[in-house]
C-alpha cells in the first residue's frame, strides 16, 4: 500500500510493463502488484521505467517473498527430516502391511535378508534392533545386499517396547523373525529380549490375524521359558541345538552337510503339503509311487487338542502300510513352484520288515578345536548318539578353564538315560595357533571325529581365519602322521569355503547361512519346524547314505520302483542319490522317477531312515 502513495499508478509508472490499473488503480490493483512480487521474484524486472520509489518498494516486496519462500522450504525440509529421523528411531508409525519384520540383529541378519530377496517376493523388510541404522546398512552393503536396499527399512529402537512394536506394524506383518541380539560370545546374546518380544507379540496378535512368527533362541535351557512366553504358538529355532545336532549328524554321516545345504538352503527344492482327499484309503507306499514328480516323505494332519485348539502334526517316513485318511496331507519334496501330478495306482510288492538295515555310526572319541556356546549341546548330542562312554578332548588356548566350565554345565544336565557327567569324560589339550608342536604328539587318526568350532569370543581375531589356520595345521600334522578322521567345521562366512578349497575337510556347516535359512523357511511355513527338528534329532527319523548294493544287488534291475520297494522292506524312503564319492560327489534330491539313473557301486542312495533309539 505504501507503494500506492509513492506513485504506483502515476502516468510514469503505468509505462512499466508490470504495472496495471485494470480495476481502477485502487487497493485491489496495488495488492495484486505486491502479491506478484512476493510470490515471483522475477516480477521485479517488469518495473523498468517506474519511479525510483516504486522500484524500491518492488525490491522490498521481492526480498520479503524470497525470505518467506526460503522459510517455507526450510520448514518442509525440517519436518521431512524429523519424520525420517523418527522412522529410523522407530518412533514414527510405519504404514506397512504384509511385510517381513526382523527384530534384533546379529551375524545371521545379512544372510537372512539375502535369502529372503532371492525368493523374489515383493514384500518389504523392516529391521528393528539396538544397532544403529548406519551400522546395519554398512554391514548390508559390505555383504552385497544392495540390489533391493530400497525395500529395507532399518530402524533403531527397543525390540521389547510395546509402543515401538505397534508402530512398526507387528499386528499387520506377514512374517516376524526374532534374532538374538549379540556378537557371538556366550554372554553377549540376549535370549531375554527375545522372550520379552515373544510375549509382546503374542499379546498383540489377534486370533483373526496371525503373523508367522519364528524366534531364534541361543541357549537350549531357555527354550522352555520361550515356549511358555509364546503360549507354544510359535516355532522356536534354538541355534545351539540346531548347530550341535547338525554337526553331530555330519560327523556320523560324512557328506551330510551338502545334503542339508541342498535340502534346507537351496531355492530349488522345498517341502510342501499336498492334500490327498482323493487318495483316501490308499496305502502310503502306493501313494509314494503315484506322485509322479515329487518325492513323498511323510504325512501331516491337523490334530484337535483337548483344550479345543488345534495343532499340525507331521510324521516323516511313516509305516508303508499306513492307509491315508481324507484329512491327511502328503509331505513332499518338490521343485519350487512346480505343480504336483498324481498317476494311476500301481500295486507294488514288498515284504514288510524282512531285514533292518542297521547303520549306527558310533562316535565315542572326539577332538574339538575352539569353543563356543554350542559346545555343551554338541557334547550332549554326541552322548545321545553313542551307546558307549564318550571321550571329548577340547583343544584350545585356555582348554583347562573351558573343560572345568563344561564339567560344571554337564553335571547339571541329564539326558534321557543318565547324568551326562557319568557318561562323558572331557580332557583339556592346551593348544595355541602359534605353537603347532602341541599337536605333534597327538595321534589324530585315533579320534572318531574332529570338530572345529567357530569361536567369536576373541577380540581382534576372526573366527573363520582361526578355523582356516587350524585346518592348515591339521592337514600338515596329518600328512606326516597317518591321516585324519572325518572333520566337521563350523564356518560363519561362505566366502571362507573358497579359501579352504585345497583342504580335505569332509564337511563344513556355514552356521549363519544354515540357521538363517531355517529361520526364514519356518517363518514362511511353520509346519517345517517339526520336519527340521525331527530330521536332526537323535532318535526318530534321520537322513542317511546307503550303498547301492545294500538295496539291489549289482547287475540286477535298478529302476526307481525296485529301489523304492526295497526301501519299504527296511522301513526307509529314498529321497535322492549321490553320484561319485568324496568332495566332488554330486547330490541329486527329488530325482525324476521316470529317468532314475543307472547307479554304480560307488554311488549312494540318500534315504530317510528310522534311527534306532540307543
Amino acid at each position: 500500500m505504501l507503494s500506492y502513495y509513492s506513485g504506483l499508478f502515476s502516468a510514469e509508472a503505468l509505462r512499466a510493463e508490470g504495472i496495471d490499473n485494470l480495476l481502477g488503480g485502487g487497493f485491489i490493483d496495488a495488492f495484486w502488484w505486491s502479491l506478484k512480487h512476493v510470490l515471483d521474484p522475477g516480477a521485479l524486472s517488469e518495473n523498468y521505467g517506474a519511479p525510483p520509489g516504486v522500484i524500491i518498494f518492488a525490491l522490498l516486496n521481492s526480498i520479503m517473498g524470497l525470505a518467506l519462500t526460503g522459510g517455507l522450504i526450510g520448514l518442509i525440509v525440517n519436518s521431512l527430516q524429523a519424520s525420517l529421523e523418527s522412522a529410523k528411531q522407530g518412533i514414527s508409525h510405519i504404514d506397512e502391511e504384509g511385510h517381513l519384520i526382523i527384530l534384533g540383529w546379529n551375524r545371521k541378519g545379512p544372510s537372512l535378508i539375502k535369502q529372503f530377496f532371492s525368493l523374489n517376493t515383493p514384500q518389504r523388510v523392516v529391521i528393528l534392533s539396538g544397532s544403529s541404522p548406519q551400522e546395519v546398512k554398512t554391514i548390508l552393503k559390505s555383504e552385497g545386499v544392495v540390489r533391493r536396499s530400497k525395500n529395507i527399512l532399518v530402524l533403531t529402537g527397543s525390540t521389547t517396547s510395546t509402543a515401538v512394536l505397534d508402530r512398526i506394524g507387528v499386528s499387520k506383518a506377514a512374517h516376524i523373525i526374532i534374532l538374538a541380539e549379540g556378537q557371538g560370545s556366550k554372554d553377549s546374546y540376549s535370549d531375554v529380549n527375545t522372550i520379552n518380544s515373544l510375549m509382546i507379540i503374542e499379546s498383540r496378535l489377534t486370533a483373526r490375524r496371525r503373523s508367522n512368527v519364528v524366534a531364534e533362541i541361543v541357549e537350549a535351557e531357555r527354550l522352555g521359558i520361550a515356549s511358555l512366553a509364546s503360549s507354544s504358538s510359535y516355532p522356536l529355532v534354538c541355534t545351539s541345538l540346531l548347530m550341535s545336532k547338525t554337526m553331530v549328524q555330519c560327523a556320523r554321516n560324512p557328506g551330510y552337510a551338502r545334503v542339508y545345504s541342498e535340502l534346507f538352503s537351496s531355492n530349488e527344492h522345498c517341502f510342501e503339503l499336498f492334500p490327498c482327499a482323493k487318495l483316501e484309503g490308499t496305502l502310503f507306499s502306493d501313494a509314494c509311487f503315484m506322485i509322479n514328480n515329487a518325492t513323498v516323505v511323510g504325512i501331516s494332519w491337523v490334530k484337535l487338542l483337548d483344550d479345543g485348539s488345534s495343532k499340525r502334526v507331521t510324521v516323516l517316513n511313516p509305516e508303508p502300510d499306513y492307509d491315508l485318511a481324507a484329512d491327511d496331507e502328503l509331505v513332499v519334496i518338490n521343485q519350487r513352484g512346480s505343480p504336483i501330478s498324481v498317476g494311476p495306482e500301481i500295486p507294488i510288492g514288498y515284504q514288510n520288515n524282512t531285514r533292518q538295515l542297521s547303520y549306527r555310526p558310533q562316535i565315542s572319541n572326539v577332538l574339538v578345536f575352539s569353543s563356543n556356546p554350542n559346545l555343551p549341546a554338541i557334547i550332549n548330542e554326541l552322548a545321545l548318539n553313542t551307546s558307549s562312554k564318550l571321550t571329548v578332548t577340547v583343544a584350545s588356548k585356555n582348554a583347562s578353564e573351558i573343560v572345568s566350565m563344561l564339567n560344571e554345565t554337564l553335571s547339571m544336565t541329564e539326558n534321557t538315560r543318565q547324568s551326562l557327567a557319568e557318561s562323558v569324560t572331557i580332557t583339556p589339550l592346551e593348544f595355541d595357533l602359534n605353537r603347532r608342536w602341541t599337536l605333534e604328539h597327538v595321534e589324530l587318526n585315533t579320534y572318531d571325529s574332529i570338530f572345529v568350532l567357530a569361536d567369536e569370543s576373541k577380540t581382534g581375531v576372526d573366527a573363520d581365519s582361526s578355523t582356516a589356520m587350524i585346518m592348515l595345521i591339521l592337514e600338515d600334522v596329518a600328512r606326516n602322521g597317518g591321516g585324519l578322521p572325518p572333520v566337521v567345521v563350523e564356518l560363519l562366512d561362505s566366502k571362507i569355503k573358497d579359501v579352504l578349497k585345497y583342504s580335505t575337510i569332509i564337511d563344513s556347516v556355514i552356521s549363519t547361512e544354515f540357521v538363517s535359512a531355517i529361520l526364514l523357511q519356518v517363518a514362511q511355513n511353520p509346519f517345517l519346524e517339526s520336519i527340521y527338528s525331527e530330521l536332526i534329532n537323535a532318535g526318530g527319523i534321520e537322513m542317511g547314505f546307503r550303498k547301492v548294493e545294500d538295496y539291489i544287488p549289482i547287475g540286477s534291475s535298478k529302476n526307481y520302483s525296485d529301489f523304492l520297494s526295497r526301501a519299504f522292506e527296511v522301513n526307509e524312503l529314498i529321497i535322492g542319490y549321490q553320484v561319485g564319492d568324496g568332495p566332488n560327489a554330486e547330490i541329486c534330491l527329488n530325482p525324476l522317477k521316470s529317468s532314475f539313473p543307472s547307479l554304480k557301486p560307488q554311488d549312494k542312495l540318500i534315504v530317510l531312515a528310522q534311527q534306532l533309539y540307543i
Binding site: 509305516e319 499306513y322 520288515n353 528310522q610
Partner: protein, 118 residues
C-alpha cells in the same frame, strides 16, 4: 472298544500310533514318560498298555516292573515296544514282566492282533 494307554516319549511316534488306533475305533490315552505312564495306569485303568522302553524320567523296564509289582496294576496287560534290531531290549522287557512285545516301526496288523489277544 478297548482303552489303550500309549507310553511314548517321541512325539511323532505317539501321534502316529494314536492316530492309527483312534481310526480303528480304540480309545487312546497318552503318557510321555514311565512315571506318567504308571500314574495314568492307576487313574485310567486301560485295557492294554503299549510301553516304549527308552523313556525319560523312568524307563519302560522300570515302569513295567513297578506296574507288575503293584497289585492294582499287575492285571493290566503291557505290550513292550522296542526298536526293531535291539533283541536284548525284548528279552529285558519280558524279564521286567511285559506280557508281550512288538517292534518299532509298528506293523499295525500284527500289533492289533496282539492287542485283541488280551
Amino acid at each position: 472298544m478297548k482303552k489303550i494307554l500309549i507310553v511314548e516319549d517321541n512325539e511323532m511316534n505317539r501321534d502316529m500310533l494314536s492316530r492309527r488306533l483312534l481310526r480303528k475305533g480304540y480309545e487312546v490315552k497318552i503318557a510321555v514318560d514311565g512315571a506318567e505312564g504308571l500314574l495314568f495306569m492307576q487313574e485310567y485303568q486301560p485295557d492294554v498298555v503299549l510301553m516304549d522302553m527308552g523313556l525319560p524320567v523312568k524307563d519302560g523296564w522300570t515302569a513295567t516292573a513297578e506296574a507288575k509289582a503293584d497289585p492294582k496294576l499287575r492285571s493290566i496287560p503291557i505290550i513292550a515296544l522296542t526298536a526293531h534290531a535291539l533283541e536284548a531290549d525284548k528279552v529285558r522287557a519280558l524279564e521286567a514282566g511285559a506280557d508281550d512285545f512288538d517292534t518299532k516301526p509298528v506293523n499295525l496288523a500284527s500289533l492289533l492282533e496282539k492287542i485283541e489277544a488280551f
